[in-house]
């Protein structure tokens, strides 16, 4: 005779499913759901003094956000930087993945491992390395000056938007490689041959067959890069200077030195929704585009 608990467990699929999910569910509740709810709640409060918060409900913080030109422009800049990072990553990673998927016959895995090799070091270390490369007395500037091509160091390289874009692109490229590679590798090469056989040039075959079929990978790569880079604050804090500052640096400030937790929470919430809208728009429009292409 089974004990009752055991027999319920044996009969009920949901019971088994939830027990398998429970470690993850508990973790997500503790580190995601509760903090997010708290953040959302705080965005409706008011900071009255340095230490005190008025807990009565108000949407004033959201109005504040859109009345502060600085915050709105930082939001736009964050999106712009992320957009450029995503675009550059796609344009550089796609051909590499295409090459590995279709032209590398042996040791594809080795290629992928080698490409992701730089990403085995910590993110922070890589950011600092870019500091060494891009700095006023860094690798690029000193070499160019030594060779005699420059008299003065290029200042736009460091503590600028350019520095943030370069660093973020490099930092996230590996994450774009994998979805792109997987989607391209899945394409049966005979489809490409069939396209050529049916009278299309290489270029036309790419537009009509390869690109539409690799779209899931492209969307995956866009989301995987865009979402984390919009909110990145380490790279802009270390390499951005004033020019390359992003909204996340400001949010950090509100929770720290500036100490306006409700406004910080409201900014973070706005950013969350912006990212959600942008990603939805991206997936929707790419899908529409691919339908029109074929």
């Amino acid at each position: 005779m089974l004990n009752p608990l055991k027999s319920i467990y044996a009969k009920s699929e949901p019971a088994r499913a939830y027990s398998l999910l429970s470690p993850a569910l508990i973790l997500v509740t503790l580190v995601m759901l509760i903090p997010l709810t708290l953040m959302l709640s705080f965005s409706f409060f008011t900071q009255t003094s340095f230490t005190e918060i008025d807990y009565s409900f108000t949407v004033q913080r959201y109005i504040d956000f859109f009345q502060k030109n600085l915050l709105v422009s930082l939001l736009i800049k964050s999106i712009k930087i992320s957009f450029l990072v995503t675009l550059i990553t796609l344009l550089t990673a796609y051909p590499v993945c295409y090459y590995i998927a279709f032209y590398v016959k042996k040791n594809k895995m080795l290629w992928l491992v080698l490409l992701t090799l730089p990403f085995w070091t910590s993110y922070l270390l890589r950011v600092f390395s870019w500091k060494i490369i891009l700095g006023t007395k860094g690798v690029i500037n000193s070499s160019l000056i030594n060779v005699g091509l420059l008299n003065e160091p290029l200042t736009f390289l460091m503590y600028s938007e350019t520095a943030v874009i370069i660093t973020l692109t490099h930092a996230w490229a590996a994450f774009a490689l994998l979805p792109l590679y997987v989607s391209l590798d899945k394409i049966d090469f005979s489809l490409i041959e069939a396209g050529r056989d049916l009278g299309l040039s290489r270029f036309e075959v790419f537009w009509k067959i390869t690109l539409p079929l690799s779209l899931p990978g492209i969307i995956g790569a866009i989301l995987i890069i865009f979402i984390p880079t919009v909110g990145d604050y380490v790279t802009p804090a270390l390499l951005g200077g004033t020019d390359g500052r992003m909204l996340s640096n400001m949010i950090q400030g509100y929770f720290g030195k500036i100490n306006n937790i409700p406004l910080g929470a409201a900014s973070a919430t706005i950013m969350l929704f912006t990212v959600a809208i942008v990603t939805m728009a991206v997936s929707y429009s790419t899908k529409k585009l691919s339908q029109r292409m074929s």
């Binding site: 041959e193 069939a194 009278g199």
Partner: protein, 360 residues
């Protein structure tokens, strides 16, 4: 009819040190159903891909209808291919798949519609225009691939083992259908297969390939009746090989000493004139007779049945005799395991069923 419609002239294709196709020359007639037959790795698919333009030959020349196509890319050749896995574009529906190859032909909208409609009825796929590849069965996909290639009205249709993925019954149906379709539209078909039965039953002519070379090119019945070497004889159907060497020659006949059996006078189908020339004698299993009693045939051997396999319409026997280690024979009579007492049997052979093969 143009008998040198496709001219394959001293074509070789090397992949590194591998000679996939090794100095091959032959011609394909206009409007014929031509098969390239051979085991995997024999170079048949490479040869087809050379014709399609997916590979370019290391040496040699390809002419189609008098035009040198050796270095033309696939999109510039008047050939179309039915791929082994059909290669139907998964992101567009059947109708768009079929229209795909018509974009570049500069046809009017009405002409495109008409052609698509006609080809769909030709392959019996009316009503499937809106379906996607994932919503089709294997046989239907095969028809789509066929329609997509035929709609361009190519001079040559190349087929790369198109029936390999279908189940036996459907494959038999499609064989008949492909054959009648080819007759109906009159396009030259070049068909690649490893299935000898398929090649023999469908083709006007068959080229048997092995190790990058053509072993024999002839009509299907010739391949079976008069194989030119051991490879072809072994590959087309099943046969028994007996070692032998030639003795005195006498007009159309030749005296041959068959190992362990003695000397016999048989037809000199190889026109051998030398003595002591090593050859192989081949006897088809169905040409022999297996029985419980002795016969008065030219050769009658007493043997023991070592194994039988029941094939429905016939039974296959593996027999060992004093003289020969292993003989394969078939019988459509109602013999089975129980018919032979102690597995004792008699194998009878008629001399006219023995053919000589070059030892190569």
């Amino acid at each position: 009819m143009n008998n040198s419609f496709i001219q394959i002239h001293e074509i070789s294709k090397h992949f590194g040190s591998v000679r996939a196709v090794d100095n091959v020359s032959f011609q394909i007639h206009e409007g014929e159903f031509f098969s390239l037959l051979g085991p995997s790795g024999c170079g048949k698919t490479t040869l087809l891909r050379l014709l399609a333009g997916f590979e370019f030959p290391t040496n040699g020349k390809l002419l189609l209808d008098g035009i040198d196509i050796t270095s033309l890319p696939p999109d510039k050749r008047p050939t179309n291919m039915v791929f082994q896995n059909y290669a139907i574009f998964p992101h567009i529906n059947v109708e768009k798949n079929i229209q795909f190859g018509l974009r570049k032909l500069g046809l009017s909208k009405e002409e495109i519609e008409k052609r698509v409609k006609d080809v769909l009825s030709l392959v019996k796929l009316e009503g499937y225009e809106e379906r996607f590849s994932s919503q089709l069965s294997g046989g239907q996909r095969q028809r789509v691939a066929l329609a997509r290639a035929l709609v361009r009205q190519p001079k040559v249709l190349l087929l790369d083992e198109p029936l390999g993925a279908l189940d036996k019954k459907l494959r038999d149906e499609m064989q008949l259908e492909l054959r009648s379709l080819q007759k109906e539209i009159g396009i030259t078909f070049v068909f690649v297969t490893h299935d000898q039965q398929e090649a023999i039953s469908m083709s006007d002519r068959v080229a048997v390939m092995s190790e990058g070379k053509i072993q024999q090119l002839s009509a299907p019945n010739e391949l079976y009746k008069n194989p030119q070497n051991i490879f072809v004889s072994d590959f087309i159907g099943e046969t028994n090989f007996l070692k032998a060497s030639t003795k005195a020659q006498d007009g159309e006949h030749i005296n041959v000493s068959i190992e362990n059996l003695g000397e016999f006078k048989i037809k000199n189908n190889l026109n051998i004139s030398e003595n002591s020339f090593d050859v192989v004698c081949s006897i088809r299993p169905e040409a022999m007779k297996i029985d419980t009693v002795k016969s008065d045939w030219d050769i009658c051997l007493e043997g023991k049945i070592r194994q039988t396999s029941y094939l429905g319409e016939m039974t296959k026997f593996y027999v060992e005799t004093k003289e020969l280690e292993k003989i394969i024979t078939v019988s459509s009579q109602h013999f089975d395991n129980q018919s032979f007492k102690n597995n004792d049997c008699f194998i009878s052979i008629s001399l006219e069923d023995i053919s000589l093969l070059n030892k190569k």
